[in-house]
């Protein structure tokens, strides 16, 4: 099946945070409004950003950045959520298969079988997965954007677009065939360049084998806080591609060797006994 994706156009985004609200509403990730009755303290963090970070109940979050472009302040908005990587480090390290690739390409998640190990949290090059964790017992469950495929709340299986895309008033978010969205994104980048945005680019076409959330940007990805050339960490590779197979080989050879030893040693012990018995009689 053709791969699906989300295209986010930072130049169209008004940072209304409708996507944030729609995501919470659809996925039942309620948040308390900070009031005294609710027991939640309001805080002024000197920014329009709210909540301050992704969390088990905040799977998408708008970021606000102020940059100094030759003396003129620019106010940049960008979307922070799971990028649904093709070479997904989280899928690589997840021991239970709770994280897996959906047939449409993005990274779906079966929360029921999550072990709470938190390996995905440390492996993700975009620092996306979150969990509430009891530091003594270790009990935890991870959460992240599921591309609206959470069992029971699966919009994709219904043929609908994700909730964030559905709600986006300026159509900064689009959902569709990945190939079509790449073509669409490239067209917009070209028109941005033609209008004088020399650094405009499409982020996510090639990164980590191709992301299923791509960005149309009018400036370098680093300006938007995105990692330039994200990679699966060396530790992930050393652990999954080296030490795992070594474990299989060492374990296998040990069991094989012991089995062999048992057969040979028992045979020679028996023949010794026979010799002794023969000598005695």
């Amino acid at each position: 099946m053709a791969e699906k994706a989300i295209l986010y156009d930072a130049t169209r985004c008004t940072a209304c945070r409708g996507c944030q609200a729609a995501c919470k509403q659809w996925n039942e990730n309620d948040e308390l409004i900070p009031t005294e009755e609710n027991g939640v303290k309001a805080a002024n963090r000197g920014s329009y950003e709210n909540p301050p970070d992704l969390s088990p109940r905040t799977w998408v979050k708008m970021e606000f950045r102020e940059t100094d472009a030759g003396g003129a302040v620019r106010w940049l908005f960008s979307r922070r959520a799971c990028m649904h990587c093709t070479e997904a480090a989280c899928v690589k390290v997840c021991p239970s298969g709770a994280l897996y690739h959906h047939e449409l390409g993005f990274v779906a998640y079966d929360k029921d079988i999550c072990t709470g190990c938190g390996y995905c949290i440390d492996a993700c090059p975009f620092n996306v997965p979150r969990s509430d964790r009891n530091l003594i017992t270790g009990i935890a469950k991870m959460d992240k954007c599921t591309f609206c495929t959470t069992p029971g709340l699966d919009r994709i299986a219904q043929g609908w677009e994700p909730a964030c895309v559905k709600t986006c008033p300026p159509k900064a978010l689009q959902y569709g065939d990945r190939n079509q969205l790449i073509a669409e994104g490239k067209k917009r980048v070209e028109s941005l360049i033609a209008r004088g945005w020399a650094n405009a680019n499409l982020y996510g076409e090639k990164e980590l084998g191709g992301l299923h959330v791509m960005y149309v940007l009018d400036d370098h990805p680093a300006v938007y806080g995105l990692p330039v050339d994200p990679q699966i960490s060396a530790a992930t590779i050393a652990w999954q591609d080296v030490i795992q197979p070594v474990g299989w080989v060492v374990g296998g050879l040990t069991i094989l060797g012991l089995g062999l030893n048992y057969l040979v040693a028992r045979a020679s012990a028996n023949s010794d006994k026979e010799k002794k018995n023969a000598a005695r009689s």
Partner: protein
């Protein structure tokens, strides 16, 4: 009744079994995370809770044993690090001995033979590695950097592969191997027969008989 010599004192035997049981629990609850196909067993964190309980026992047991048995501890640690020419002889003779039961080339062994010493050394080193890396993954999960935490899993796994394969060997030799008839008794009841002691740990037997009378 054949004459018996004491091989392991009671506190040592208790420590051995407490450590053995907690190690096996740690092994099994670790294995389900290590083998991807088994990860589904670990859902809802319950194996990871057992891993932590067993880890606490694994760490605390020797911490209780050591101050109460300072002399035995010092002797044991010294033994793990004293290697000599006989050990090379043992390594050379081991294959013929363990496969064919041929002991003609086997040099006389102390309380621990070379193989046991090697295992004991692995236990010491891997326990330290397990404890340090495990405690970091446990308590610094939300504070240490992701890279550090990932390398801790890596080191934990190296200790796991080394110690667990040697554990299989250890259990096999103690319980299953046809010629190790009294190793099991030594750590279960604490004594071995004089005959077994002379045959398997001649140097050690000489020492104990020189030091004190054999109890019968």
């Amino acid at each position: 009744m054949p004459q018996e010599v004491e091989k392991y004192r009671k506190p040592t035997r208790i420590l051995h079994w407490v450590h053995m049981v907690s190690f096996c629990l740690l092994f099994l609850t670790g294995l389900v995370l290590f083998i991807p196909g088994l990860g589904i067993i670990a859902q809802d964190s319950w194996t990871r809770v057992i891993h932590r309980i067993a880890a606490a026992i694994f760490i605390i047991a020797p911490l209780i044993y050591i101050p109460l048995n300072l002399k035995a501890t010092a002797k044991g640690i010294k033994e793990a690090f004293s290697w000599g020419i006989e050990d090379i002889g043992w390594l050379k003779a081991a294959p013929r001995y363990y496969f064919l039961g041929d002991e003609s080339d086997m040099p006389p062994q102390g309380a621990m033979n070379t193989g046991q010493k090697l295992w004991w050394l692995i236990v010491l080193v891997s326990s330290v590695v397990f404890t340090i890396t495990g405690l970091i993954m446990w308590f610094a999960k939300t504070t240490a950097s992701p890279a550090v935490l990932q390398w801790m899993v890596f080191l934990h796994d190296i200790a796991f592969i080394g110690a667990s394969s040697m554990l299989l060997l250890h259990i096999y030799l103690g319980v299953i191997h046809p010629t190790m008839t009294e190793a099991w008794k030594a750590i279960y009841k604490g004594t071995v027969s004089v005959g077994y002691a002379k045959k398997h740990h001649a140097k050690w037997y000489e020492e104990v008989t020189r030091r004190k009378e054999v109890k019968s």
